[in-house]
Amino acid sequence: MFPQWFATAQADAWASFQSLPAPRRGDEAWRFSTISALDFSSFTRAEFRGEASEWIARSTGVADAAATLVFVNDTLVHSQSRLPDGVICLPLAEALIQQPDLVQQYFMRHPTTLGSAKFSALHAAHVSNGVFLYVPAGVVVQDPVQIFHWADGDSSTILPHTLLVTGEGASVRVIETFQSTDDRAATLTIAVNDLIAEKNSTLDYVVVQALNQNSKIISINASDVAKAATSTSFLLSTGAAWARSESISRLTGEEARSYMLAVSVPSHDQEYDQRTFQHHISPGAYSDLLYKNSLYDESRTIFSGLIFVDEGAHRTDAYQTCRNLLMSNTCEANSMPGLEINADDVKCSHGSTSAQISDEEIFYLRARGIDSDTARQLIARGFSIEVISRLNHDATEAYVLNFLDQKFATLRMRDVR
């Protein structure tokens, strides 16, 4: 039996979902978005009852993972763990029963403010599974925890929930991967992931979104970073027809550090809609955002980022950079890099560029005997790797790079030139 508070929260969320208006044209939070993509009427919840061995077998992540959890349509089909004592790592459905009070303490405690409040309510109303990871104070988990989500069956909806907490001085790295069981079935994913990094802790969260090109995904990510804690949130997007990602960092203590990183390689008519918010609540905190998009074919990206420095959050150090590499003459990049500064003695800057690979760069590589297509791909790959290398963990970088290269392999010779 799920605890009463959870049942109440779900009922309240359902009421919110019904009362909240759907996003409309003209909403600032959805500026440049394709609103028609938000018609989810054909999607339903679908439990997975089939044979999971293939998906378990294909859920190969990094070697030496500290724990692995595999879900198909939010059903846990496999798990293994060699986590240190005291670490709680449970499917959310179990955590709600075994650790109801602990989960309640952290479960969706902030409203969704970047536009998807309605979908966040839908998630909360129907969420049934996901991962609850709690690393108690002082515990350092050396190897990554990896989570695999497989979306299966046409029109099915999954609502994975990821709740990661590092206690004081603790440390963990989590890699979460979203994939489809086949390359046709159109699925809808509404994922919520909350990262809570308590004092002096380190929390790295790496997401790979490689769903098939008929699927849609909304991911709502938030990090709470306390005094002297460091959180890294990384997202690689190569899949889905339409992907909306909302990412917030709340810096609540001095010397808190938040890194918000993303690499996207959209192609065909994929649309990636990225909204970010760096919220400096405490003075003396640091945040650094770097989003890089390489746009192929008819793809579109929307980047809207805001550095928000609260009154009194002096000595804030905040940076935001979005770079778009335009790889076709039919792609479209929209950038809205914003700042709202209400404090003094801050160092803030943002930059956004959109450009194609320069002829000089191509020429240089061709002069070394590399053909033009290979040269373009090498440069685009290097462009993305600059972000991936910030993960500072070889196995994780290799894992992410593998997905990046799979995407590039499908794009080979596709560049319009």
Binding site: F32, N334, M336, D344, S354
Partner: protein, 479 residues
């Protein structure tokens, strides 16, 4: 003492002649309006204005359509400040004039109006360095004159009322074309009740060596000024237009909502310079846009120091190949002020380039906002945009925001946007003070240094004045 040292080339007299500081503008004369449309805005108000101005039928229809658009459009508070809701459209007086036609000689201008502009230094400036002047007092121009040799070359410089009647064949095809009535709520408002403003036509190949100037003066309380300016530079023509403005500080809020349309035909160049120094209870909601045809250039050189709330995003639509658009913007927001400014760059032809450089200074609890839009659509080649916006915060409660939006389609273009926020560092202040410069003067030096490269873009006569105004604003900002 102004610490900013005058450039050696400019004599003291000229510097004083361009004196337009706000304290100097803070005076008023008793109203003696022959025509007063009363308070509030209805169809009757619009008809009253049409009747007084003896508008042609097409203008009357244009105004009525605009009124409807104004009513239908919501306040843009979904993205803009809620302070807009403090404008009481029912209390505003939409048309006031003494019924006099604009004079060609200052000698014919009524004594109180003449004294107003004398105190603001306009006739002196005209003698010193201007090719032509239009001076507007509430709803109508009191004085309008252009040097005789320019008239002979075919230059037209009249107020908008005269422009639409006497030069309909040039005026009408472009009027409302760069900025359609429905562009935004305030362009619609202006289209319904516009009065005054300039109509300028520079014939083919004529390059004006001296600037034309317009001066806008609000004299009456609760008044709304809605001037309408249309400048057309024919092929290869060049003109610089400068506008200044003041109002006394009334108890109630005043509204200024202008529409300015520029048309630069093939190879033409228009530079539009504004030093906005409205008193701090004026809502200044202005729509400004230029159209640049092949090889043409439109530059907005904009400085906002006054007003309670300014919302102004000068734009350039680059419609011809190799057209260029530029916005150079300085904003200073002191306590009680919100300077919400920016730029719109719409690329609509190949190889068009645009450049935006914006610097803002927030003092006390002042708030400065930059909003930008850059649009490069599909099927174009070789478009470039560069945007830089830098904000300087002076005090702990000062505020700044930046909201750019950049859309690029296709891979034949390059855009670059950079923004930064900084303070005058303690180390910089210590260094300057160690040389014996007081804290306030050091702050002024640092602020003037911050905008120095942009101030150079203003004509010399304005740049000296600008630095002085900024020194005035910086007084008392420290300590």
């Amino acid at each position: 003492m102004s610490l900013d040292l005058l450039p050696e080339t400019l004599d003291q007299e000229t510097a004083e002649a361009v004196n337009i500081d706000r304290s100097i503008g803070d005076f008023t004369f008793p109203e003696r309006n022959k025509f007063d449309a009363g308070r509030g805005l209805t169809e009757k108000t619009v008809d009253y204005i049409c009747d007084v101005k003896n508008d042609p039928q097409w203008v009357r229809e244009f105004r009525h359509r605009a009124l409807k658009v104004f009513r239908d459009k919501p306040m843009p508070t979904n993205w803009a400040t809620e302070d807009l809701n403090n404008i009481n459209f029912d209390e505003i007086r939409y048309y006031l004039s003494d019924g006099e036609k604009p004079k060609r000689s200052w000698d014919d201008v009524p004594a109180d109006v003449l004294e107003t502009f004398e105190r603001l230094g306009i006739p002196q400036q005209e003698r010193a360095f201007l090719a032509g002047v239009e001076a507007q007092f509430d709803s109508e121009a009191a004085y309008s004159n252009v040097k005789e040799e320019l008239t002979k070359q075919g230059v037209i410089f009249v107020n908008s009322t005269e422009g639409l009647k006497e030069h309909e064949e040039i005026f009408r095809p472009w009027f409302g074309k760069v900025i359609p009535t429905g562009d935004n709520k305030f362009s619609a408002l202006n289209s319904a009740v516009f009065s005054g403003g300039s109509f300028i036509y520079i014939p083919k190949g004529v390059k004006l060596k001296q600037p034309l100037q317009a001066y806008f003066r609000i004299n009456s309380e609760s008044f709304g000024q809605f001037e309408r300016t249309l400048i057309i530079a024919d092929e290869g023509a060049e003109v610089m237009y400068m506008e200044g403005c003041t109002a006394p500080k009334f108890e109630t809020a005043t509204l200024h909502s202008a529409v300015v349309e520029l048309v630069a035909l093939k190879g033409a160049k228009i530079q539009y310079v504004t030093v906005q120094n409205w008193s701090s209870n004026v809502f200044n909601l202005v729509t400004k846009r230029g159209l640049a045809m092949e090889d043409a250039e439109v530059r907005w050189i904009d400085c906002n120091i006054g007003s309670r709330l300014t919302m102004k995003y000068p734009g350039v639509v680059m419609k011809g190949r190799r057209a260029r658009g530029e916005v150079i913007s300085i904003a200073l927001a002191n306590t009680g002020q919100h300077q919400d400014t920016g730029a719109k760059m719409i690329h609509a032809a190949d190889e068009t380039t645009s450049n935006v450089v914006s610097k803002s200074i927030s003092v006390g609890t002042g708030r400065s906002t930059y909003r930008g839009q850059v649009h490069i659509p599909k099927h174009l080649k070789g478009c470039k945009n560069n945007t830089e916006c830098d904000a300087l915060l002076i005090n702990a409660k000062s505020r700044t925001d930046t909201y750019p939006a950049i859309t690029v389609k296709g891979n034949q273009h390059a855009t670059q946007h950079e923004a930064s926020v900084s303070q005058v560092s303690q180390e910089m202040l210590f260094y300057m003070m160690q040389r014996g410069i007081s804290e306030g003067a050091a702050m002024s030096l640092a602020v003037n240094g911050f905008i120095n490269d942009l101030v150079r873009e203003f004509p010399m006569e304005y740049s000296v004045e600008l630095k002085r105004l900024i020194d005035l604003e910086m007084e008392g900002s420290v300590g």
